[in-house]
Subunit: 257 residues, 2 copies
């Protein structure tokens, strides 16, 4: 599939989390935040996340929507040995390809079973099935691989295994100019600076200015985050924000606002 963003030098991604256990609340996802930070750090912009159930139609629909729209899609979950692990089959279906036992995956699994005991049964063989045309994504923890097909990277749901798979895939990913960021702790409430911050945002259209409230020991406080691919533009916006904060806080202290 052609990459719609190829000309801009911007590389985009989506995450598709697959699993009933996330939607029931039984398992609290720890992968979205990890992958988000990881991709930001290597110059890939995460643009969307979806969480769907272990349901083939839902997985296929979400995957096809996301892989058409973004440079990469990273999936987590549903590649284990049990009947509820239907990710590999669903992805083969989305791509319209067959799924087969991958000879390298079978050899890895046999070796691991020989080392750790147990038999090479149907359940373990299930973890060696990958869609035709996919490449394996290995990990140093388990013998069950993820895989990479088209622009889709399929990873485990267990966080430490997912992280190892991401390390395996990352060097092969196309990356863009890294999104940089800097932040200013405002030491006043969002409502005190919202109007002025909006004016600064309008004057600095090439940076993204985010405002994030939090509570500290004195009450409401605000972190202002400035993001851009251009460090000089970040510095200019940050200076404007700091000057505004100095002025607003002086006015607040003097009771003039």
């Amino acid at each position: 599939m052609a990459d719609p963003k190829a000309d801009s030098g911007i590389v985009t991604a989506a995450i598709l989390v697959i699993g009933d256990e996330i939607l029931s609340g039984r398992t609290k996802d720890k992968n979205i935040g990890y992958i988000a930070e990881y991709l930001t750090n290597i110059g890939i912009d995460l643009k969307e996340v979806r969480v769907v159930a272990d349901d083939e139609a839902d997985i296929v629909a979400a995957l096809n929507a996301l892989r058409a729209r973004y440079t990469y899609v990273f999936t987590t979950g549903g590649i284990g040995p049990t009947h509820d692990d239907i990710t590999a089959d669903s992805i083969a279906k989305a791509f319209g390809v067959r799924i087969d036992y991958h000879p390298v995956a079978v050899e890895m699994m046999k070796k691991r079973v020989a080392e750790t005991g147990g038999t090479m049964n149907e359940a373990r063989m299930r973890m060696t099935r990958v869609p035709d045309g996919a490449e394996l994504v290995l990990n140093r923890i388990s013998a069950a691989p993820g895989f990479w097909i088209g622009n889709v990277i399929v990873m485990a749901g267990v966080p430490n295994i997912m992280q190892a798979m991401l390390d395996d895939a990352a060097p092969k990913l196309k990356t863009g100019a890294k999104m940089l960021s800097d932040s200013v702790r405002a030491d006043c409430r969002e409502g005190d600076i919202g109007t002025e911050l909006g004016e600064i945002a309008r004057k600095h259209p090439d940076v993204m200015i985010g405002s994030y409230p939090f509570m500290d020991e004195r009450g409401g406080n605000t972190n202002v985050v400035v993001r851009s691919r251009d460090a000089q533009k970040i510095a200019a916006a940050k200076s404007a924000i700091e000057a505004m904060l100095t002025r607003v806080k002086a006015e607040l202290a003097a009771g003039r606002r």
Copy 2:
């Protein structure tokens, strides 16, 4: 909008998380897991989650897809006083209605500002704007309300404020028969029981059987979770799983598998 699930007695929901800070990885979402567990406990099935940026077109597209498909959509984030808080406007646009200052919200905000200092400025007024036809969703922490329009409940992104808004909205939600669950700690690896567990799943089609690997001090272990709205069906499936586990573990101990 008609509820497509009304006849079945099953009430469904989606979550739409709105915020650049989640996608950049700067903020780790804590709301998805909380809402998921909350809805499960009151008899609402969470079916999908999406995370999108602070981008009007993305918010409108995701909201319209989700509100057509599920009984309820819960949104988090983007209803603060700053320029990057565009959720209320985006939702008005998705519903094709105007957005105005809500007189009750304005009074609440004026009262809070009088109590805590500061001025009733443009930024604070921004938090009192709600789409026409929406009802306010209050919270005991801040004077800035969420709102409820059609089948969409719009909440703050700050976790404790979101939680208070969910408490305000929950008594007015339609709920269905609660999804029940029970779990069995297998004390063996997923790969040892996957085939047998799949056979049990086929014989108990009215229950959902999930298998979740985890590591303990002895190595790989597995939690098997059985879910259904019928407690007797859960008990029957759980008995079958326990009998299978007893048999498989005896065979493993005897070196027969």
